[in-house]
Symmetry: C2
């Protein structure tokens, strides 16, 4: 659990960054931004709940009156609450104090995940203002994880490790992907996750679809499975991928040579990129390390996605390890490293770990073996 004092520190730092950036107010929506700043986890809804952080004002949480008690109970730091009744205008309430020092606000930052319907209402209420994504002021804070956050990410990673190991132990052959995916979700919860967000079970040719939705296909002996699973534990995400080959107990059904070669390339790309994740390395450089190895192996055109994404309160967040992102990674950044090769219609391979960039080099949070899991299934 995040200690309460952290929230006050984060709010103060956000106000300072906003001031430095000339932002009149940060309009923080329900979701990961609000949870990061106050500990309040709520469902995004059509009724506006919004934290307003302005450089020279105490933060205010605007909530529907019927949510007041729930918000008070969940808040882990001291913010003033302003409630609105069903027939009142929450947008004016949220903007009320912003820019009253003089002119109307000229620059407002809004949470990336704020619903468009809410943003359009704010824009209509302040037609002269410019709106920017809140990530422009929040990203620096949220990207650098403190020790408590890393601890939660590690606990989530270890729980996911246990689920991967359990699933690889079988049975698998003869079951549908959907059935295995259901087991994955149950076991994530069993292992301490509050939510199981995804369970990609791509068997046989489906392993070549990186974001395959588990289907009614029955798993057979003599084929690979790409297993990519994750959810949240105390708000923080897990995300791990391992590649399994099921033999059905018959060694003759083992992985063919071409597949072993693909796997070897991905394994080498994953290990080398992980080793490159030191403070100061440009994010795109980590991607390039993995991509270079797969390209040299002749499969560059089949590695069709970026190398990785940040992870924390969101399953995908900054920094993104992708060509074009020249920003250096820093100590405290946490991200996935997940190269893959996908031969459409045939099969695919992916290996993914969550890695923290430490001051003295990369720290890999996942501990499940990274080798090809050749199992009876």
């Amino acid at each position: 659990m995040i200690p309460a004092h952290r929230y006050a520190e984060r709010l103060a730092r956000l106000a300072a960054v906003a001031r430095a950036g000339g932002v009149d107010a940060v309009l923080v929506a329900v979701g990961p931004d609000l949870e990061y700043l106050t500990g309040y986890r709520a469902m995004p809804l059509e009724r506006l709940t919004m934290l307003v952080v302005a450089p020279d004002e105490a933060p205010v949480l605007v909530v529907p009156r019927l949510e007041r008690a729930a918000a008070e109970a969940a808040l882990r730091t001291d913010v003033r609450i302003a409630t609105w009744d069903e027939t009142e205008d929450p947008y004016e309430l949220a903007l009320g104090d912003v820019g009253t020092g003089g002119a109307a606000p000229s620059l407002l930052a809004v949470s990336d995940r704020l619903w468009a319907s809410h943003l359009l209402r704010f824009q209509a209420a302040r037609p002269g203002a410019r709106f920017a994504p809140a990530s422009s002021v929040l990203r620096e804070l949220r990207m650098v994880k403190d020790e408590d956050e890393i601890d939660l990410l590690r606990r989530a990673a270890h729980a996911a490790d246990r689920v991967v190991t359990r699933i690889a132990a079988g049975p698998l052959v003869g079951r549908t992907e959907v059935d295995v995916a259901r087991e994955v979700r149950e076991r994530l919860i069993e292992n301490g996750h509050q939510e199981a967000h995804f369970a990609i079970v791509g068997s046989g040719p489906n392993s070549a679809s990186p974001h395959h939705e588990a289907s009614e296909r029955v798993i057979r002996a003599g084929e690979p499975i790409v297993l990519d699973i994750g959810g949240t534990l105390d708000g923080y995400g897990s995300d791990i991928t391992r590649t399994i080959w099921v033999t059905g107990g018959d060694p003759a059904n083992g992985p063919d040579e071409a597949f072993q070669r693909l796997f070897g390339l991905v394994r080498e790309a994953q290990a080398s990129a992980t080793a490159a994740a030191w403070p100061g390395t440009p994010a795109e450089q980590v991607d390039a390390v993995a991509r270079g190895i797969i390209e040299a192996g002749g499969h560059g055109r089949y590695f069709i996605h970026r190398l990785g994404h940040g992870i924390g309160l969101e399953g995908h967040e900054e920094p993104y390890l992708v060509a074009g992102n020249s920003e250096p990674i820093e100590a405290g950044h946490a991200f996935s490293i997940e190269p893959g090769i996908y031969l459409e219609g045939r099969y695919g391979v992916r290996i993914e770990d969550i890695v923290v960039c430490g001051r003295d080099g990369p720290i890999v949070l996942n501990e499940a073996p990274r080798e090809l899991y050749v199992v009876d299934g």
Copy 2:
């Protein structure tokens, strides 16, 4: 399951409504709008997936290349797919064909739930265009449920009914709210829900917080519980509230007279508002019927929320039964009717059903008894 032909019909109707409204394109985001129009259920992510529906063009689904196979497998109607690679600009890809007949687009409608970060990118790409919420063109379609949708809502309602009945059968006394909430979620899944979205278990004074988050409070004999639960079954929502009084087996611990009076008022308000839900009745009038009864009983100021909300692919959607919404409800509209009275620090009462406005009057989908559940617990 929704028959496939419905999706093509919905897309054609949306194009017609957009044309009539002078909308150059509807930018449909991942979420309920996309599922309604194509059957494709996907997670909202930072990588843009977007259906573009323009009046005189065939609809196009813009997807990240790595999602292509998953999208193809999930789409239940015929739409062209346009993929983008990790370093390409999906916003230009989505807008590419819009308005090429002549001038740049002047009016673009965007899904209400589109993330602000995506909307800001679209606005930057087309600074001259006006952006409106897609509900302005989609609401008429989505509000009127067809028979297949009503069937799914009914199945979801009956599943939730069974869970309420099971939970009311106990045990309850001596357990924490969180523990009961966990059982609610498990039983929703057991009864056919794919997702359990909320499980409000407000015991004793917590029953006076309408959106109470289940806490570590231990349920005691001689107090009420407001149980408000729901999730989705094949995409469609359930949402039911019943009020329980636990005696611990001792009749002396039964509900006091004041509580019984509150309950009677809410019961009467709920029944009368339900009976008023005929085609042509203004939405706010249904709210007013319930509110009038509670006001006449002297508790108007403790009924602190609107009477109800629409329900379908979203847990809360139009129409809203609230003062200020003078639009008539119509045959096929589906909504909650959920009056409540909340005495802060003491206790509260709420009763909620999902009701469909039928041609010949209201059809109540929930079948669990609406009386006060006085149980041993």
